[in-house]
Amino acid sequence: MEIKTRTEGAVRILEMTGDLMGGAELDRFRQCIDEAIEEEKVNVVVDLGKVNWMNSSGLGMLISGLTSLRSSGGDLRLANLTERIRRPLQITKLDSVFQQFTSVADAVKSY
């Protein structure tokens, strides 16, 4: 999994590519979230448009980011979910926890 980060105004955008399956990727994701908190960019959009696969470890990774950001006064919102990526979120009902948007622009505007 690759993560590209950029900032638009006060919003930090994490563009993910590949598979979200926890493991070593979790450390890289945690690092991005920690950096966002340190730099006071606690409103984060995770762009999932280039993610091929997500399992329960990937879900755990997103939940961990969400709780850290919310406890720092921010949020983690999701953009560009494909049907395949939406499935584990729906089954676990975590789709009610994450705000989801059809584009990164809409997700950025929501803050």
């Binding site: 399992n55 755990g60 709780t67 395949r84 676990t92």
Partner: protein, 157 residues
């Protein structure tokens, strides 16, 4: 009349890098026997969760034999996916299925894999022989059980 059954098998090293190949194998067999895209996705995800559990937990001792066997058995009414490892095993009774209301309220991290497997498939059973052979079997019926009840009831009427 004898019932026709088919079996497909894959033996592969227990490594995260191989999960994509495992999903491909399972997904193509499920597709070939007529499951729709949604069910194929569910079967792939359930298999991924079962194999991820083996990679993470069964083979933490690297001196152990580290292969993963995936078998798909087909009969006229169902697909049975069997994931076998030779690792340390676990007590299936000790697994706590998260209460999702509580889970969502507290936003815990982890513990969702087995919940997903049970929700994605129609039946999930374990046969654990620690150090020898551990198996998780997951069944998906070709006709949803609820749909099948509707068909049976309409036949009665």
């Amino acid at each position: 009349m004898t019932l026709k059954t088919k079996e497909y098998k894959l033996r592969i090293p227990s490594q995260t890098d191989n999960l994509e190949l495992i999903r491909y194998f399972v997904g193509r067999v499920a597709e070939k026997v007529g499951f729709d895209d949604e069910d194929v996705g569910k079967i792939e995800l359930a298999c991924d969760e079962a194999c991820t559990n083996v990679i993470k937990h069964a083979y933490s001792d690297r001196s152990q034999h580290q292969s993963l066997d995936i078998a798909i058995k087909l009969d006229y009414q169902k697909l049975t996916l069997i994931v076998t490892d030779h690792g340390k095993g676990f007590d299936p009774q000790a697994i706590k299925i998260p209460d999702m209301k509580e889970y969502l309220a507290e936003l815990k991290v982890g513990g969702l894999g087995i919940y997903l497997m049970k929700t994605l498939m129609d039946e999930v059973t374990y046969d654990i022989k620690p150090g020898l052979r551990n198996q998780v079997s997951m069944v998906k019926y070709f006709i949803n059980k609820k749909d099948s009840m509707v068909v049976n009831n309409s036949k009665k009427a």
